[in-house]
Symmetry: C2
Subunit: 320 residues, 2 copies
């Protein structure tokens, strides 16, 4: 009798109220709900969306071992000193089997863990890259409405995920390591076209100047990008990096920002729709196999995969 429909929605609304007040437990709870990607995730987004859009988002990508976590730790300190509230989302590669994040060695950022103006969180990057993007976009919204005005997205490992992340953030920093000694690696990793700022970290070791010059001539010259050197462990160059980020942000905000945000909405809609459709598709393949043994037919080479797929798609899509 006392169980009105509100008994279900009230807790979520309370979580959202607490997020808007910047309460840490609510932020943590909300991001976990987003990672689970259920009905509640959409409800949270529905409630916070109208408050979002105030934070600026900075992506930090680059090969494993380049010192990204250490650099992000120092960036937090520099931003805090300038009065910003900083959220950090570290996107870990998914375990394709368990589906969870394997580990987030956020140890190097722990010094900021008790600061109220800082929120650090690891996120799993699930199998489907659409899934990562959606959870990440929504987690950014949660930190945004909770009052964090600079949000750093650190991605672990270089690859398509990084390219994807660069289309979600406002400014992309690519961190490179002179120890791997090879700017070719950056080119191979597809990172040469996504960065606004290229950072040669560990600039105090041998090879740093060569890498810096390579990057300048290979990647930066002729494009609207910046190359910098840092020593993240000592903090050297970090303030200059923050200057470069802020400079890039204001340049983008005053020039073509609306078009960029429009494109982002378009690609977000695309991701969400494909993720919705992928559930439908999976179910239809199963059914088509039960009713018409379609997988068996491909296995027996009676039908090629494209014909099989086309046949199912024709049943899924509405005629115009």
């Amino acid at each position: 009798m006392f169980l009105t429909p509100y008994s279900i929605t009230l807790p979520l609304a309370s979580i959202v109220d607490a997020i808007l007040k910047g309460e840490r437990w609510a932020i943590a709870k909300a991001i976990s709900i987003l990672e689970d990607d259920g009905v509640q995730a959409r409800e949270i987004v529905g409630m916070i969306f109208k408050h979002s859009g105030n934070a600026r988002v900075i992506g930090v990508t680059g090969p494993a071992g380049a010192g990204k976590s250490t650099l992000v730790g120092k960036m937090i300190g520099a931003y805090r000193a300038r009065g910003f509230k900083v959220g950090v989302l570290a996107v870990d590669p998914s375990s394709s089997i368990s589906g969870g994040a394997i580990l987030g060695d956020r140890v190097r950022m722990q010094e900021h863990a008790l600061d109220d103006g800082t929120y650090i969180r690891s996120m799993a990057s699930r199998g489907a890259s659409g899934g990562v993007s959606s959870a990440l976009r929504d987690a950014i919204r949660v930190l945004d409405v909770a009052g964090f005005n600079r949000i750093i997205v650190e991605s672990v490992g270089a690859g398509q995920l990084d390219v994807k992340i660069s289309s979600i953030v406002d400014v992309t920093i690519v961190v490179l390591n002179p120890q791997t000694g090879d700017s070719i690696q950056a080119i191979k990793a597809g990172l040469t076209e996504v960065g606004d700022i290229y950072v040669v970290n560990k600039a105090d070791i041998q090879g740093a100047n060569t890498l810096y010059n390579d990057i300048k001539s290979l990647v930066v010259d002729g494009r609207d990008a910046i190359a910098l050197k840092t020593v993240a462990v000592t903090g050297k160059g970090v303030d200059e990096l923050i200057d470069a980020v802020e400079h890039t942000l204001s340049k983008k905000l005053s020039n073509g920002y609306k078009e960029m945000v429009r494109k982002r909405v378009e690609s977000e809609l695309m991701d969400i729709m494909l993720s919705m459709l992928s559930k439908v598709v999976q179910e239809r393949i199963k059914r088509e196999d039960e009713e018409h043994r379609i997988i068996e037919k491909v296995l027996n080479k009676e039908m090629d995969p494209y014909n099989a797929a086309e046949r199912i798609v024709a049943k899924v899509i509405r005629d115009e």
Copy 2:
């Protein structure tokens, strides 16, 4: 008058005939057509599909700089010495902007370039990961029907692409580098659950034994995987690696192989369907924006992205 429909389809049939005879120009031409992903790509697959399924496919993944290309070069030699014909497909990360492969430093494999029993080819990994997988699966089929009975797929850079590739190949080798000094990097890269064989390359340098022991205890023990050490530059350990690959192959073939292939067909159908649907979806978003300014509504926070996506999906999907 002389332009019958055959004037279009005849060349493709000739290409396919030449592929079946193992002619290199035809293989090259066919893979380029597959990369372009047009109507002709599907026609080629339609013609060769029934001949496919004889090759065994070996994936070689791992962080950039681990020495994968050098190792693959030595594996070619070892397989040739055992009488196999070896195809190599090196999947490079895409340039998200130009859409093409940036470079393929296949230099280390060049010694085999003039050998008729070897075919080496770089492939671009396009933006959509479904796209990569489809072109790769089909290129494997081309080499397969051209008579190559061992096909090595080398992926550049560790990330979701590697996890994806491991679901296409029969045996996955993960190559690790003691120089980066950190088995944590492998864990971070999500590589700990996809490998059948873990290779510590550059086994003659410091840190190799530590990495080997770490990998053995972290990844291999308790799972059905093998850990090995190689020095790719000198070829040390490469024969043992080939033994391990062949051992793993025959074990898989005699146990659960059919179920594995079935799952692969399912995931291939899924990829193809989502790629087909993604074109439909993109077009529908555009139309919905023209007719109902749906992107504008999201930008103005009148509608959240999930509601907008749901609304379009409802128009795309056929009711049951």
